[in-house]
Amino acid sequence: MHVTISQLSGIVAYEFRMHWRRRSLLVVTLAMTLITVVLAVVTAGEMGQDSMRQLVSQLDQEQGAHGIDVLTFTILFATWAPVGGALAFVLPVLVADTIPLDEQLRTRELLDSLPLAIGVYLAGKVAGVFMAAMTGIVFAAGATAISWWVFVGPYDLVSYLQMWLLGSGALIALNGSLAVLLAAGQPTRRRAALLIIMIWGVGVVALGSVLAGDSNLVAYLSPMRAPIIMRYTRFDAYSSTPVPFLSADTAQALAIGLIEVIIAALVVWSWMRRRAQRA
């Protein structure tokens, strides 16, 4: 058991390093941060900080009680939605090569000779992607939070962090893991990326891209994960009901995504076991 935990944390730690050193994660993180920070500056420039604040308090008063204040709503809409989209669609393609790389670099031969269980290997690869991507998100969320606070004005930090961190956590855990697992059998990085682009494309088109959020369970199978990405934006900012921490459709989308990941993990695990037995 002790050895298993040490192996698992070792894979996570070194996968983390390798993901960051391959640079694509760095580029995407910086791009996301840059976009949201520029948006803050542009928004502040267009509206002017004071007029923005005035507008918000005016709207808040006119509309009475509200689930989430208008500025927070605006910030989430402007910053989270593009980031959520990137996590749902770009990240999976980016991390698809996690396991195929062992094939391409010919490290698989050595790994296969080590006393390392397939389950530990898979869990380590998946968790490594999660840690690496999450670190990028924490950085981007921080930079974005500060820039909007400074350039535009104070807002509801709790709602903001909830959406960024929990939303990201969920999307990375679901779509990142799914991409790592589904591309596990590909021999090269290129093939892995192509496969994930295909699956994601087909998934979104075939399963629908519910934005409306009627509890269309089939549509929740889609890697779009609309109920997660749109967690706040689908609530009326002017309604008196507060946005729940976990609405029914978000919970359903999470549960369905989790089931997808678990099934993918079991399939890949038994496939790798069979391959080891038959090779």
Binding site: H2, G10, I11, Y14, R106, E109, L110, A117
Partner: protein
Amino acid sequence: MIEIHDLTKTYVGGVRALDGLDLEVGSGMFGLVGPNGAGKTTLMRILAGIIQPTSGTVRVFGHDLHTVAGRMAAKALLGYLPQDLGLYPNLTGREFLDYIAILKGITEAGERRRQIERLLEEVRLVDVADRKLKTYSGGMRRRIGVAQALLGDPKLLIVDEPTVGLDPEERVRFRNLLSEMAARCTIILSTHIVEDISHSCNDLAVISQGRALFRGAPADLIEQVRGHVWAITTAGERPAGDLMVVSTLQLQHGVQYRVLGAPASTDGALALEPSLEDGYIWLMRQRRGAA
């Protein structure tokens, strides 16, 4: 002790790489010689638990490689240097060794550090240990491969064509390193270069087309060719007889041939002390003749 019984491996596609191989390997350094395609790598990959035989049994220190638990237990005792080792280009040499040490089950960081420092010294990579592996030369990659195989004090060390890509000096150093290791563990070394094992192995097998053609001490393989090795000097023409030319040397007044076999005439032919390479070639040639 490694026991291999009636081992057969047929790859998908029908190539029979191993064909009813029987072999027992004790302690010390064991040489596995054979031409390219003989099945050496296939045998080593089976011993390392990477691929499964089509039929037959393999036991490594009593662990049956047929079962998952047996393979896991055997792998925990193993150091393996693949013929074609892949490295993570973005890790440094030291990081790579640490990663492999963790995966080998060395849980304690201090112990890992001690072993890594010792091995870096032994393979003389201390100076470049903190450079990314993608900057390593062929010889350096080879040496980091050797170091990772020695991590965790393996009881069984499997090295597949380890001297390919090493310069002569590195080759000698590597041989000495293995000889030191051989006091503590079983080493199986494969090569198609006979010279690699003539210096260091006390026990060897010659395999070809998935079968063992010879099993024994190097001296016994040499004995088989005694009396069939000749030096014949001619004006230039090939010496007559049922002969195989091993080497030719241009001299001022003619050409000196080193031949195996029976010369047409032993006048002017000089009987030579056979080498291991002569023994190997003699064996391969007789098998071919028999086939």
